[in-house]
């Protein structure tokens, strides 16, 4: 346990912010989804780090991480299904063009 807690957290934070940047600035819907996955990963790292460093005997951290995995998977599946559906009806995956709610 040489590596200090804050190093892991920093990495997670960096990963998170990079993911956020990706979500906010990419034009392709799938690219956005990829950014989202990055963010989720960062969260996971955070969780696991804290679990390992603070309360390793309680399984809460791991369980939580597992759940995050579950949710991420589900969300990725559904999101991609949506994208494909949108692509079929609108013939585009450029997010900027999907602005029906404009107004």
């Amino acid at each position: 346990m040489d590596v200090p807690l804050s190093w892991y957290l920093l990495v997670a934070a960096a990963l998170f912010c990079m993911g956020l940047y990706g979500v906010l600035s990419r034009r392709n819907a799938v690219a956005i989804l990829m950014g989202v996955e990055l963010m989720l990963n960062a969260v996971n790292i955070n969780l696991v780090t804290f679990w390992r460093y603070v309360a390793p005997e309680a399984m809460a951290g791991q369980v939580f991480a597992v759940l995050v995995y579950t949710v991420a998977a589900a969300e990725a599946a559904v999101g991609l299904a949506l994208f494909i559906a949108i692509y079929r009806s609108r013939d585009t995956v450029v997010v900027e063009d999907i602005d029906l709610m404009k107004g």
Binding site: L20, V23, L24, S25, I32, V95, E96, I98, D99, L100, M101, K102, G103
Partner: protein
Amino acid sequence: MEIRDFFFNLTWLIPLFPLLAFALIVLWANPNRKLSTWLAWMGIGLSWLLGWTIFFLSWGDIHHLTPPEGNHPVPLWTLPTGSSVLKIGFQVDTLTALMLFMVPFVCLMIFIYSKGYMGYGTNQVDSRYSRFFAYISLFACGMLGLIVSDNLLTLFIFWEIMGLCSYLLIGFWYEKSYPDPNRITPKEAGLKAFLTTRVGDVIMLLGLLLLYSQVGSLSFMDVFNHETLDMLAHKMVVLPVFGSVPVATLAALLLFGGAMGKSAQFPLHVWLPDAMEGPTPVSALIHAATMVSAGVYLVARSFPLFVAVHGGAQLAVVAFIGAFTALFASTIAVAQNDIKRVLAYSTISQLGYMIAALGIGAYIAAVFHLINHAFFKALLFLGSGSVIHGVEHGHHEVAHGHHGHEEEAFDANDMMNMGGLLSKMPRTAWTFIIGGGALAGIVPLAGFWSKDEILAHAWHEFQHGHDFGTFWPFFVWLLLTIAAALTAFYTARQICLAFVGRPRTEAAQHAHESPPSMTWPLMLLAFFAVILGLFGTPWANQFHHLIGEAFEATPFDPFVAGLSTVLAVGGMALGWLVYGRQPLAAGQVDPLKRWLGPVHTVLENKYYLDELYKTIFIRPVIWLSHIFSKFDYDWVINRIVNLAGTVTVFVSERWGEFDLVIVDGLVNLVGRSGASFSRLSGVVDLNIVDGIVNRIGDLIKAGGRFLRPLQTGRVQNYLIVAATTVVVLLGWYLVLSVL
């Protein structure tokens, strides 16, 4: 007895029922003929029931109810009049009860008869049918109120009501006019009746005033008791020509003036024959049965006053007038051709009998004759109406059936147009004959008994000369006997001309019997005409028992009875000889004309009395009124009125100008300032208020427009906003925690 008292106390209802009927018909039921008829019948019917109840009940207590001392008072109101008190109310005594036997019943018969006479249910129904029933109801109220009054004032009031009704009813067909200018129209006849009786009424009023001033009350109880009469008899009044006269005499004569007017005694009799212009039920009601007998009733009621002064002039006057009228009228009746006019003069004559009887003290006989006369005279009038009706219908049939052209002037009343109606109208004919017999005084019909009693009394007084001297009774007896003969003669003449022989005109040929509503009353009245007399026979005189116990009963005198019977029968036989044996053919002149010649003309023209009155009284008055009206109009009234009018117009014009300028100016000013103020208000409102409202709206719109771009519809844009916010917040907390 309680029942008696109970019903006596209801006396005030008797005149009220027909009054209610009058009011209801006038105010409400006028359009509905059936209802009007029934209301009138109900009114008089209820009065009849109550009247007969009271009459029969009064038999049980005669002693307490004999006038003038005894009566059952039904006081109503006590009106203070300055220093004294006026007591108004009703009363029941035997005289009233007797009248209550006759009046409502005869009225009821006439009311029933009127339905058919006025043409109910036919297409010749009178246009003012309901009004007729209203009038006769009011009239019935007047007569009934008169006989139940307990004081001279209400008696006078009801007297006047009857006067009014007689005017209304005589002139009922006011639109009727005749081509012959000398023939009086119903309108004129009504006026004549009213004015002539008015003369009598004024005299009567003077009598009332005299009595009131001397006695302080007009109630019967107060005036006709011994003390008062004594006082009145001894108190003297000084008159210009006659010198010192007892108050009682003067009062009696003044009251008699009213009786002369209402009971059509000479010289105030002229209205009654012309009153025949009214419908026949009116003639029956007013001029036979009730109103004219009011005068006789008045004298009977005031009889104590008349006899208060021993051997006074008042009785002489009464007797003379009565007897003279009786003979005078019967002579005229002989020469009349109008069936109703014969009866009219006959009425005048019979009233004379009654007045004369009172003049010689035959109180009971007078009242007896009054009751009898009411029945058979009403019967005769109604019968004549039935005859006229029948002949008129016959005339209608003829005119419309045969030629179909305009109806010629046809006098259905003229007996010369009749004839042979015995077979055509049997019920009318036979009841008429019975009535005529009663009138003529044929035994055992009613008229005989009462007439005979009068004559017997006269003769008796003449023979024995008690209170009334000998001259006047003889005078009365003589004139009345002659009149009786004449009565029989003209009655027979009438019957023969109308019913016997062959019809003289086509109208008479086509005449037919009247409807049951008309013939039933005839039969009922005929029944009474037959039996009523039997109540007054000298051997069991119920009338004497009822009302005249104070007087001596008149004994039966075979001489008088025999003489009057002979005369009656003889008179009728003569009549039949002249007119019945060889009935007149159409167009044949009355034989009497030939025999009497110029006398007949005088008789036919009623002794030219109407013409005399016209010259002496009427023409000068009209001339005077012309002058007055001219003076009034041209000189005085018009000038003054026009001047007043001009001034008023001028003043109002100036005032109007003033008003217009100032008032209008003010109003306009107010209006204009209001308008400008409201304009100002409006400007403020529109600009400021609206401005504010609009600005707010614009602000919001601008805000919206400003914020709208936020909604790009792109998720990433939303996200960046969220992210930015989060970052800011985080930074904030961070900064806070550091500090």
